[in-house]
């Protein structure tokens, strides 16, 4: 069971999430390509996972009893890389090599390239099945303390593969109760808003009808998210889907809720504005850097 969240820890996590957003912007502007909206929108959840929820050890990334975090929508890897770096898997400075030649930080994550990565992803819709496979393997080995989390996007629910996975997991029921999926429900994809490109709703009812437990949360409220993870851990009968409602581009005013920021990096000028906003929490506080 994930430990309860005290006020001091919550404040630490919120500050860490902001730091991770800043470093995501820095890595993207240096890389000159990559995805902005998704990584910023998921910074709170990645922070909560690696700094509070996951049972992991950056010094022993291959520890067999670790919890697994599978990133299915690989294109938001800047936030995964940044969180892994801050968690101690590799030096934070290495984030500046994102997408460059000979870097361990591939444009889409590759399991063999970097410690801490559980899979190779980018082509959408295949992460949930891989998380299922890991959960089945851990169950066969009687590793009762290890859980598997799959981070997935809303847009990739247009892929057939993921519905095959949802159906299979529903069939397994309690055998996959150590599997928790977390959906980044930010409503955008490359071509526009999800409900215009290819409607996904009602997502809750769809998952429930396939035999899943479903929890809706505000994906920027770390306390609410951690409470949902605790609830998922307490459900015995079935796997859980946490639908995390997020704001794409969260924290940077000109990126928020704008689907055109799905797949592009900020220019140096935009990055400067973005970092200023993040450091001053949109003008609420003074930045020590300025």
């Amino acid at each position: 069971m994930t430990t309860p969240l005290h006020e001091k820890k919550l404040k630490f996590l919120e500050e860490m999430a902001n730091t991770i957003r800043e470093d995501v912007i820095k890595a993207l502007v240096e890389a000159k390509s990559g995805h902005s909206a998704g990584p910023l929108g998921m910074a709170d959840i990645f922070t909560a996972m690696y700094f509070h929820v996951l049972n992991h050890d950056p010094k022993k990334p291959d520890w067999p009893d670790r919890d697994r975090l599978v990133l299915s929508n690989g294109h938001i890897c800047p936030v995964l890389y940044t969180t892994l770096a801050h968690a101690g898997y590799f030096p934070v400075e290495e984030l500046m090599t994102l997408r460059k030649l000979n870097s361990r930080l591939q444009g889409h994550p590759h399991r063999k390239a970097l410690p801490g990565l559980e899979t190779t992803s980018g082509p959408l819709g295949s992460g949930l099945s891989q998380a299922i496979g890991m959960a089945l393997a851990l169950r066969l080995d009687n590793k009762k303390n290890s859980r598997v989390y799959c981070l997935t996007s809303d847009g990739e629910h247009q892929e057939g593969n993921i519905w095959e996975a949802i159906m299979f997991a529903g069939k397994q029921g309690s055998k996959l109760n150590r599997l928790t999926a977390i959906m980044d429900r930010n409503n955008i994809q490359i071509d526009g808003f999800t409900e215009q490109v290819m409607p996904l709703e009602p997502l809750r009812e769809k998952y429930e009808s396939f035999g899943w437990h479903v929890i809706d949360v505000n994906g920027h409220d770390i306390a609410e998210f951690v409470a949902a993870v605790n609830e998922a851990q307490a459900i015995y009968e079935k796997p859980t889907m946490i639908i995390a409602h997020t704001i794409p581009g969260k924290g940077v005013s000109f990126m928020e809720n704008d689907f055109t920021w799905h797949g592009k990096p900020p220019s140096p000028e935009e990055a400067k504005r973005a970092l200023h906003e993040l450091r001053t929490l949109r003008g609420q506080i003074m930045s020590e850097h300025e």
């Binding site: 399991r111 190779t120 819709g125 295949s126 299922i132 496979g133 851990l138 159906m167």
Partner: protein
């Protein structure tokens, strides 16, 4: 004459030679692999009996997963198992897996380096009456082109059993191609089998009758090798010497042996139940173009789809019969 060291079935040219599908050998090998290693698990997509996963499923029910008609899920669940200490075998018809799920095999198994064994059953035109939709004739090409993927095409049930047990023991992604129909069992338990090592099955030595030193190397994979041996046998009576090489491992190819027989003969015919582009023939041509350019002929599907019919009828109609192999040998010998 037959290579004694290959320890082939002495009755292989008899009418009554035992016939058995390669998928049966896979089923037996799978159970053996299951006993040998508790990490072997099997996933199937609604074809448990016909892909011969049933015996394993009954012996080891906890290690068998039915995923339903969902080949993308079949590959990707296995990818997760394969990076978490398991040795998953995934079985379906080759047109569906690794056909429909090619990208999942590429990204989540091959590039991801997951220890998954992809079993493509009902490969080749000899699937028969089901017709072209179910006849995989592109799978060697689509698997061979992937980095980090082994490709093995067993020639009979005994070799399929050995191949199944061998891929379970060697780390990494592998593709094993199986046929539906009963085909002659012409190897024996004693026939050597090592992944990546081609075996000479036949070598004319110029001593018997009118036979001459080998002029043409017939390099093949899969059950058609039995027809290649028949062709070699008949050609020897006609005074044309050949070598027949079983290149069961299409990737990694046994480059040394193939270059050696091409050099010894000066001409090559490749034999496979697959499109002539991209499969074993393509692989051999790529190798020889670089190291030992010799005239080649290609037995296989000539850039067409198959159709419904009896397996033997189809093999004959599409130019993969014993007489076709003999004709190809004579054609290529004239070009040498």
């Amino acid at each position: 004459m037959l290579n004694k060291n290959a320890k082939l079935n002495e009755k292989l040219f008899d009418q009554g030679v035992e016939q058995k599908p390669t998928r049966d050998g896979y089923g037996e090998g799978l159970v053996n692999a299951g006993y040998e290693d508790p990490n072997v698990v099997v996933l199937c997509a609604d074809l448990t009996e016909s892909t011969r996963c049933e015996a394993f499923a009954k012996k080891f029910p906890d290690r068998f997963f039915e995923v339903g008609v969902a080949e993308q899920n079949l590959a990707t669940i296995a990818a997760g198992l394969g990076v978490t200490g398991k040795i998953p075998f995934i079985a379906s018809y080759a047109t569906f897996s690794p056909g429909r799920n090619w990208e999942q095999v590429r990204t989540t198994i091959s590039y991801n380096d997951s220890n998954v064994k992809v079993i493509g059953a009902h490969a080749g035109i000899s699937v028969g009456p089901d017709g072209a939709t179910h006849q995989a004739i592109e799978d060697i090409a689509t698997m061979r082109v992937m980095a980090n993927m082994r490709v093995i095409v067993p020639c009979d049930a005994i070799e399929a059993k050995k191949a199944t047990m061998a891929v379970a023991k060697v780390w990494g992604p592998a593709y094993v191609r199986l046929g539906r129909e009963k085909t002659p069992v012409f190897t024996t338990e004693a026939t050597p089998f090592t992944i990546g090592k081609a075996e000479v099955l036949w070598e004319s030595n110029g001593k018997k009758g009118k036979s001459k030193k080998p002029q043409v190397a017939i390099i093949g994979c899969g059950p058609l090798l039995h027809r290649a041996l028949q062709a070699a046998h008949e050609l020897e009576e006609e005074g044309i010497g050949t070598i027949v090489l079983n290149s069961h491992t299409v990737k990694p190819l046994d480059e040394k042996k193939i270059v050696e027989v091409a050099e010894a003969c000066g001409a090559v015919v490749t034999v496979e139940e697959h499109q002539v582009s991209g499969g074993l023939g393509g692989a051999v041509a790529e190798l020889l173009a670089k190291h030992m350019p010799v005239p080649m002929e290609f037995i296989g599907m000539q850039n067409v789809f198959g159709e419904s019919g009896q397996p033997d009828e189809l093999i004959e109609k599409y130019g993969m019969g014993t007489s076709d192999i003999k004709d190809a040998v004579k054609r290529v010998a004239r070009r040498a």
